[in-house]
Symmetry: C2
Subunit: 214 residues, 2 copies
DNA sequence: CGTGCCTGTTACTTGCGGTAACACCAGTCT
DNA sequence: AGACTGGTGTTACCGCAAGTAACAGGCACG
């Protein structure tokens, strides 16, 4: 078994893997995250054991699937984050990019955010951390890095940046999720409102009655 | 069948229901959200069909369970939100209350945030909205109402309040989730950092190098 | 030629959600 | 008393999805 041979085989296996992922993608986007392995295999024109040979178990397949979409979304977010404009514009562009993505493909969004994979049955619990979609974590870390690189936050700035990164991403996510469900306003309005929140309008707003206010 | 009779029966059924919920609580807190109905029934000293008679299906049981904890958490949050203090202190108290709760009982937190119940298999998809734990939605709505009552936000203030309510709750959630997993700092520091974010420090911070900054 | 090594299959086990059918025990109505 | 009703509880089953042997052909290599 010389090298070129193995490379050929690996290439073919990779191609196959990509085909399988695309088939899985179609099924998951059609049937939601609870799509069965049988259904996915059928869509790919094969049977279950092959899927298991390629991805180990359902979690492996879903992880591979999620990675594709997560990477794609992160790429477009990075582009918005790196655009040449002032801070407020960048923030708004990033928010808008994210919201546009989840608006355009809610099925993908739902799949990424709700993998619905309770960890191994043998888990002793207590591992809060890997759940809640890795997408949120990755976005948070990415944003934290950008914040830390670009902003001068004084001592303790690195940690502050991380808190803010995850916090802002969570804000974006929750507001987006709610907005996607109720559609109470246009995307542009939502972006503006969130940016206003980040710009301190909450602290600056006046009280309504007499008391100390919220 | 006079009234007292039916009341008696209902009372007994309610007591039973509470016992079952407590048993379910123990199991879920021990085994995580993927606890089987069999395990729960065994813990309660009975068998499956009784659970189904009381709660319909697994989703019903989990909903009842979640409602208990959600209500409890919301009560303590309301208390923090209504305390007599100025705005910044209230915000910090609310953040701290939430974080203390998830820190004290991570299992409960995890259960509430990741119910892992893909909707009916027959669903035609596209129903993004009921997922992502009702807890987040309820907290968002609650906070929105408080904001709208207490703050003078000018025209469009109601909608702005709702966006902010969900956004702030999401920020709190994501930051808390990340913090619980990595414990990069004390709770007090996290609270302070988040409050600073809400107070506009992101917009106020200086750039690091020359360019337009983040 | 046989020997590995892919790819693919059928057929199975295991485990869980959910249900049907039956059994028991209390009061109630006639 | 004896049939009727409504609650609690059971065992035993169905259906379905995850995951796993065990086996069958194609294709290169010695």
């Amino acid at each position: 078994m010389d090298t070129t041979q193995r490379t050929d085989q690996q290439r073919s296996a990779d191609r196959r893997r990509r085909e399988l992922l695309e088939a899985a993608d179609r099924v998951v986007l059609r049937d939601g995250p609870q799509a069965s392995m049988n259904a996915i295999a059928a869509e790919a024109g094969i049977t279950k054991p092959i899927l298991y040979r390629h991805f180990g178990d359902k979690g492996g397949l879903y992880a591979a699937l999620a990675k594709r979409h997560t990477d794609a979304l992160l790429d477009s977010l990075r582009a918005a984050l790196d655009a040449p404009a002032d801070r407020r514009e960048r923030v708004e562009a990033t928010l808008d990019t994210y919201l546009a993505a989840i608006e355009a493909r809610p099925q993908v969004y739902r799949f990424l955010m709700h993998p619905a994979e309770g960890s191994q049955p043998g888990d002793p619990g207590f591992d809060v951390g890997k759940h809640s979609a890795p997408l949120l974590r990755r976005m948070g870390e990415e944003l934290a890095q950008v914040i830390e690189e670009r902003l001068d936050l004084g001592p303790g700035g690195q940690q502050l940046a991380r808190v803010w990164g995850h916090g802002i991403v969570g804000m974006m996510h929750a507001a987006g999720d709610w907005w996607l469900g109720e559609r109470p306003c246009s995307r542009a309005e939502l972006v503006r409102s969130l940016a206003d929140l980040l710009w301190g309008r909450l602290a600056a707003a006046g009280d309504r009655m007499g008391g100390p206010g919220f």
